[in-house]
């Protein structure tokens, strides 16, 4: 090993570290773009083999999606504004102060009464002022919401602007998919070429299938839940259905959390408590349909994770980075797990370990 070589490698390492620091703010967008390109790749490859150039098919798919989003906005924005107005009217009711209005909610008022009773039985406890204080803090935070939005105006704008770069990233990732793959594989030394290729294909296939299945699952459960909740008569069925679909990313636990959200909404909105039973039945039927009819068709056979592992992963994810990481952690752990399985099998076959 001569000195020139060592210096060269050292300089290269410094450059890589500097590059990582420089590009780190956009890593998250790059990851999202990779996910987006994985989701659309099958359609575009299919069109390509049908004889359409890749870039044309990408633009076509983009146009369809843009149309879909525009249609959704046109259809749902008025309704969203309506619900927002309702909420605003609720907050800024002039006849009663907001604290009063919140206390008047059926769920809160029953808790309030319960605490009053407790305070009467055990006079030293003094829970009521604390409960009032809690509500006051909540109201304060609610009032600060517009303030937070305005003071973070710039960062919100720049985030939105970066969100618009995702389609551009994805466009190039999709268009030059093969070139990128060839370039990455060409970095591997001859000795490890076949191994690299096998791993690359395996990971590519696994991650792609898993991400697409995940997306289809989310959409499927979201739509089914919305329909079921609408039939039962739960308010805000679309929002709750969407949340239930998203939570379905977490196996075993997700449906329960979705059920709790729906139950909470029923309690707060003052509907009869029996409704919770119907809602639970609806969600149960949706899960039954999903697990035994749709999941085997969409996902097929995947590596099963033990419920305990899932539970630990979700809890650890929530400690690590809140709700977002709760959702991301299980797919992430699953993908790393499948990568390690493939790596171990092939390293053994190629007699490297």
């Amino acid at each position: 090993m001569n000195w020139n070589r060592i210096i060269f490698i050292l300089l290269l390492l410094i450059l890589i570290v500097l590059g990582i620091i420089f590009y780190s703010p956009i890593f998250i967008y790059l990851i999202i773009s990779v996910i987006v390109s994985y989701i659309f790749d099958p359609i575009i490859t299919w069109l390509e083999y049908k004889g359409m150039a890749r870039w044309i098919s990408i633009l076509l798919v983009y146009a369809v999606i843009a149309g879909l989003i525009a249609w959704l906005i046109i259809t749902y924005i008025p309704r969203l504004i309506d619900q927002g107005n309702q909420l605003l009217r609720f907050i800024s009711r002039s006849d009663v102060p907001l604290n009063q209005a919140i206390v008047e909610l059926p769920l809160i008022s029953s808790i309030y009464e319960f605490i009053q009773k407790v305070d009467q039985t055990i006079p030293q406890l003094n829970l009521l002022p604390q409960f009032n204080h809690l509500i006051e803090i909540g109201v304060q935070k609610l009032g600060q919401l517009p303030q937070i939005l305005i003071s973070n105006f710039q960062s919100i704008i720049s985030t939105v602007a970066l969100l618009f770069t995702i389609p551009f990233f994805s466009y190039f990732l999709l268009k030059d998919k093969r070139k990128i793959r060839q370039a990455l594989v060409s970095l591997a030394p001859n000795k490890y070429f076949e191994l690299t290729l096998i791993l690359f294909n395996k990971v590519d296939e696994n991650i792609g299938n898993y991400l697409r299945a995940l997306l289809l699952e989310v959409i499927n459960v979201g739509i089914l839940s919305t329909i079921a909740l609408t039939i039962v008569g739960v308010p805000y069925a679309i929002v709750i259905g969407a949340i239930a679909g998203l939570l379905n990313v977490i196996p075993y636990l997700g449906p329960w959390i979705g059920g709790f959200v729906a139950g909470f909404v029923i309690l707060v909105s003052g509907l009869p408590t029996v409704m919770i039973l119907w809602m639970a039945l609806a969600i149960f039927i949706v899960q039954l349909l999903d697990n035994y009819v749709f999941y085997p068709v969409i996902v097929g056979s995947t590596i099963r994770m033990h419920p305990l592992v899932v539970l630990l992963t979700v809890v650890a994810g929530s400690y690590f980075g809140g709700v977002v990481w709760m959702l991301i952690s299980v797919p992430l752990v699953y993908m790393i797990y499948s990568l390690i399985l493939a790596l171990h099998k092939n390293l053994k076959e190629f007699r490297i370990i």
Binding site: Y49, S186, I198, R351
Partner: protein, 157 residues
């Protein structure tokens, strides 16, 4: 060809066929230019130095190699006296691909060699996605193997 309009047309729109060098390999001989493009998209260029091992006997198989330039020696530990030397425009690994998924021979570069590698998964995808292309390639594979069998055995002569 003598038509002046045709010549003019060719001058204005020069049509250079890309990747036509792939037709030198027997299994791609019958493909048209669009199909060659699909094949080319899946190929990996590899360069090997003289005396470098390309693959070893008993290892799992993922790619078949096409020799672009240079020489490759195939040998087996089971029969050390039998050695093949393949020159450019040849393919190796094809029989193992259809048979057993394990390398039955060791390949070594005799001189500086450039190879094109086609992965098994890409090969299968090409065949299933483009049935016409697949039929052509598989037909050529059969021809190649029939020719090899005929050369090796005198039974059918």
């Amino acid at each position: 060809m003598a038509n002046p309009f045709q010549n003019l047309f060719k001058k204005i729109f020069p049509h250079k066929e890309e990747h036509s060098e792939l037709r030198n390999y027997p299994i791609f001989k019958t493909l048209n230019s669009r199909e060659l493009q699909f094949v080319y998209n899946c190929l990996h260029h590899r360069e090997f130095k003289a005396d470098e091992i390309i693959f070893e006997e008993g290892f799992p198989l993922e790619v078949i190699y096409f020799i672009e330039s240079g020489e490759v020696e195939l040998s087996s530990k089971k029969a050390p006296e039998r050695k093949f030397v393949l020159k450019e425009n040849n393919v190796f690994g094809l029989v193992d691909l259809f048979h057993g998924q394990k390398r039955r021979m060791t390949a070594k570069a005799l001189s500086d060699t450039t190879l094109l590698a086609l992965a098994e998964s890409d090969f299968k995808e090409l065949i299933t996605r483009q049935p016409t292309l697949g039929t052509k390639i598989l037909w050529s594979c059969c021809q190649l193997m029939a020719k090899t069998i005929q050369e090796k055995s005198q039974v059918y002569n």
